[in-house]
Symmetry: C2
Subunit: 218 residues, 2 copies
Amino acid sequence: MQRSDIFTNLAEGELAQVNACRVSIRYHTGEVVFKQGSPCHDFVCITKGMLKLYREDENDKRIIIGFAKPVDYIFVPGAFTDKRHHFSAIACEETTACLVGIDVFEKLLRENPDFASAFMTKVSEQSIRFIEQMSSLVQKQMPGRMADVLLDLSKAVYNSNPFVSSLSRQDLADMSGMTKESAIRILKTFRDDELIRTEGDMIEILNYPMLERISRNG
Amino acid sequence: MQRSDIFTNLAEGELAQVNACRVSIRYHTGEVVFKQGSPCHDFVCITKGMLKLYREDENDKRIIIGFAKPVDYIFVPGAFTDKRHHFSAIACEETTACLVGIDVFEKLLRENPDFASAFMTKVSEQSIRFIEQMSSLVQKQMPGRMADVLLDLSKAVYNSNPFVSSLSRQDLADMSGMTKESAIRILKTFRDDELIRTEGDMIEILNYPMLERISRNG
DNA sequence: GCTAATTGATGATATAAGTCATTTCAAAGC
DNA sequence: GCTTTGAAATGACTTATATCATCAATTAGC
């Protein structure tokens, strides 16, 4: 069984505690793992597949704030504050997740400084990602935002090029803060300019340097 | 001397450790406390005045991601990752800040679980704020975004209404992701509709419910 | 006290991006 | 097999927002 690298900091006994109470659950594509606003009881760790993390407002507009894949656990900030979820998680592939009660998790954080320290690092990395995403979404216009999304998918999410993605155009739009139609149009200009190639669910970045230039120029 | 409430979790001896190494520095309005990209050596705690936290991109476009005031300490996510600052901090009033080396701070986090736990709560709250700010900036149009900014200033930053703010129209624009001209125009419509009143550096919210409706409707 | 520099305010215009309508295409159901 | 459904693609049109230019009002410098 795969496990997130922060668990390497746990002693045998501590790991046993986690294993004793953890629950492994399988989700089908499209199934909701937790919903924004609902009470949070568990930490979620992905062992197979992928989750889409998103926030939605009153008008059903969505923004995708990230993904969780093996072997990420999802940092649930509500667990340390109001015990509510502040974003939703939905399976975008066949996914297996491992749930650990937040009380058990918090106990380990208190008892094992190495574990806590590794956790702080993960949380910090996510904070940095949030800041960078916010900066991209607010300061750049559509081509720059889409370039950021494609580069992020290739470099950070799928770690490959080309990559096969189950994400729809709507998802790409929700990641880059634009409408589905605009996302399609931008992708077409990228295709026409031979920056990318698409074939079904596959996307290949043909011209990294140019995409990065578009990202920089906004 | 004021201190952040997370320090109430420290024992006498631990507080003494902090006091032994901490440095108190005064900044004039407009002075830079730290700069995005620079190495981070210290945790910063504000004892007087206010800091503006912002991120800038290659094109000198700014986005204000928050403020730090007494008695906040600034969560510096780079401290736990690449030891670099990922945003800049600038004094927007006469400000006194207290610097504590990150090694001392991290030692306390490891040794005192209550302190670490309080810290995690603060970090989580900031993460939630980031998500909410991102959602506002991406999903709402100008009136909704400006409403969010004004409500946030009144409720979370200055904790008063009316409030006197040293922020320029450009700052309000940088908070709400629009140009200075647009910010001025939106404020004018709010004034014309008697939602707010402005007089010099003072802003008063006259119609909370309506502003909140504008915020909700985007 | 006067000049220079900055900030706020406003109008005219340009452009980025959203909305709406339509079509194509592929997958799912009967 | 055909029909239905949903996603992708595309064009026409509208609207939100940025840009540019100008001017007033305030603040800073000499």
